[in-house]
């Protein structure tokens, strides 16, 4: 089972905020945001919560288990 996300979509829906601006808001490097979007890096719970709080949504709205999404 793989953790996937809609982070890119949320960024674009949120005034097309850049990876760097999002990284600045949640206190990580741009590369971390980039790697999360590409599915190459799983964020910690803390970072996932920070990202969700920034977009004012629930964590599971952005992050999901890839298998779960298929079943839906």
């Amino acid at each position: 089972m793989k953790l996937d996300n809609h982070l890119r979509r949320y960024r674009f829906n949120h005034q097309q905020i850049s990876q760097q601006d999002l990284a600045n808001q949640v206190g990580v490097t741009r590369l971390t945001i980039h790697s999360i979007e590409k599915g190459k890096f799983n964020p910690s719970t803390l970072l996932a919560l920070k990202i969700a709080r920034f977009f004012k949504v629930r964590v599971e709205d952005i992050f999901y288990l890839a298998k779960e999404e298929k079943e839906k």
Partner: protein, 294 residues
């Protein structure tokens, strides 16, 4: 702030022009001394005193490279993406910085061999090194004159990845140079000296890495919400540390086995620098590799 930037630019420009002038002067001094020294003709005290100016010139170049590399690193710290041109500039700056010490060592050897009536093959190595350094000085002065280094800083980033990557690039260069220099000990084992070729050389080759890590350390200390590594960096560092551990064990076992019958030979003074530089090289390479795996 603006005044400080202008002062820095002026200091850098003065040092840069001084460095170029001295390299040209050095060419003339070498061109004058070499034909006499290779046939062991006597050198006048006036000609000998010119070497003091060569030394002063090298010191000026050393300061210029340090200042330029620092300015480049400062600039790229806030860039959104690290550019190859910046990495290239840092690397030629670090190499030119290290080559200053090579210049000193070569000139020292040439002087000694001349006094003992021995041939001086070091001249052949000296010219390419000095030419490389002259090109570096010219490039850095061009960057200064074009205002490239003193341009306004871009928007600051909360967590930088560029400085982290630059530390790894410098580590890679220092590690590789250290491994090469230490491996030479196996070829010239009789002439290998514990203090000169192991202690002093290792110290000099580690100096750029030490300086860039100190700068990174200072930047981190100044951060309000200090976090040594970003989440992904921490994961990358962990992976490269594991890789370094495994490969360094393999290498050390191989080194031990290869020298099993002569453990009291040159390997007895080479194992530590080899280990140090290998670890530095592998760790930096690992970090760069895993960081690139976005």
């Amino acid at each position: 702030m603006k005044k400080a930037r202008e002062t820095l630019k002026t200091v850098s420009l003065v040092l840069g022009l001084g460095s170029i002038s001295f390299f040209i002067f050095n060419y003339f001094v070498f061109a004058n001394l070499r034909p006499k020294m290779i046939v062991f003709k006597p050198i006048s005290s006036r000609e000998e005193s010119l070497m003091n100016w060569v030394g002063i010139g090298l010191l000026i170049s050393l300061s210029f490279y340090l200042l330029s590399v620092w300015q480049i690193i400062k600039k790229l710290k806030n860039l959104e993406k690290i550019k190859t041109s910046f990495v290239f500039l840092v690397l030629i700056g670090v190499l030119s910085f290290l080559f200053i010490f090579s210049d000193v060592a070569l000139l020292n050897d040439i002087g000694k061999q001349y006094r003992h009536g021995l041939s001086q093959p070091e001249w052949r190595l000296l010219y390419p090194l000095v030419s490389f350094q002259l090109l570096t000085s010219l490039s850095f002065v061009y960057l200064d004159l074009s205002g490239f280094l003193s341009q306004k800083k871009p928007k600051p980033v909360v967590r930088d990845s560029n400085l982290f990557l630059i530390v790894q690039f410098v580590g890679l260069v220092c590690g590789l140079m250290g491994l090469t220099a230490s491996s030479l000990g196996f070829l010239f084992s009789r002439a290998w000296n514990l203090f000169l070729h192991v202690v002093l050389s290792s110290f000099i080759l580690l100096l750029p890495y030490f300086l860039v890590v100190s700068y990174w350390f200072l930047i981190k200390l100044r951060e309000k919400d200090r976090q040594w590594y970003d989440e992904k960096q921490l994961q990358d560092v962990g992976k490269s540390a594991f890789l370094t551990l495994i490969l360094s064990i393999v290498f050390m076992v191989f080194l031990f086995a290869a020298n099993y019958h002569q453990l009291d030979g040159v390997v007895s003074i080479l194992w530590l620098p080899l280990y140090l530089f290998l670890v530095l090289f592998l760790f930096s390479l690992g970090n760069l590799y895993f960081s690139a795996q976005e």
